[in-house]
Amino acid sequence: MTNKRIALALALAAFAGACAPPPQKATYDAKQTETMAAYRRVKEIPFDKANPFSKEKADLGYALFFDPRLGHENSVSCATCHVPALGWGDAFPKSPATLGRTTPRHSPGIANLAWDELYFWDGRVDTLEAQMLAAVAGPSMNTPLPDLEKKLRAIPGYAPLFAKAFPGTAEPITSANVAKAIAVYERTVVSGRAPFDAWIEGDESAISDDAKQGFWLFTGKANCAACHNTWRFTDGSFHDIGLPGEDPGRGRLLTSIAKMKQAFKTPSLRDVSLSAPYFHDGSVGTLLDVINHYEKGGIKRPSLSEDMKAVALSREDKRNLLAFLSTLTSAEPPVRAPRLP
């Protein structure tokens, strides 16, 4: 750049500075800056070493996830209960399953799960691969694994896809490989960028002042961040938040640990506006009623989490919390069903 050009640029900048409204400048103290940094999105997805990412596996998993032929009488896919446009959950408190049955719990969203250690509301399996096999063979889809293999081998279009995803095997269409492909696909399912992310990355106009107040409540007085932390808004951990009901949750697996009675895995709050009804039993229909539950602090019982405490929330507090929660929902279009083989 010549000196003349620099001078011109400086003059223009000065001119623009004089006329434009003063740029919105955020002033956050060190503690606030640190809090915000803890919610910044991460870029890399942790895949499983035993089942590393490949595009072929992810593409195959994408088809399998949406294919109703995997289920009972070719009528139910994973996406029947994990609907992309509904935050990857569904709108039933408990979902209709096969043979006139109903799922015992509410269908949770399946986004952002690559970062979790344990799966299902009660953490009863420790990989997405194992989770998938339980879903397909259980009441949700009612397809015993030998039948699953038979069905998929009978669809000519799947053979080349499996061969590409699992090269060098004589018969790649096995239930173990179905689980691997679907699990790899699921790990790629990450909630879209939301206005909240733009704010965290420095765009002060991305969310309203009410929503910002809501975030300071969420991470402050209301104590939500004790459990809904990181960019996923979950600790991937297990707490009894004092909901009514009889479901023993994680307590069925860790029977001798008092605190695990009626404890469930913290769900991510990304796209939470899309995923009503809420909680493991789908018992609460609106986010306002969720907040009202936390205001009261849940049923006092020995298993109630130490981090659950009643908190006085004004009407304005609740409005701000709701405004904040709505900024976690992405405007990106939901994933569409793929072409099936």
Partner: protein, 108 residues
Amino acid sequence: MCRSLAFAAGVGLAFAAVLPVGAGDFRVRQVDRQFSVAELDARVDDTVEFTNDDKVAHNIFSRSIAQPFDLGAQRPGESLRIRLAAPGELKVECAIHPRMRLTIRVAR
């Protein structure tokens, strides 16, 4: 980059945390929903003190056959101890936060 920084910080903590505080005593902190160390080498009759330096509760337990235990809910700031009763490998977990894992190798 972030990861290696975190790792370096972890190693720093580890040294700070494993230094025996008295003969046969170990201190393990709970920070950022992690144990400050991943592994410990100790002997029967040593004690391990767990200090909750987090802002959230923990619940340390072990299902190891040699010495199963449950320390119950542990609030921020609280310290709880165990005495190592038997030789072998003790896998220590947090019931609330499944990511927290600590292995204590107990020699005779």
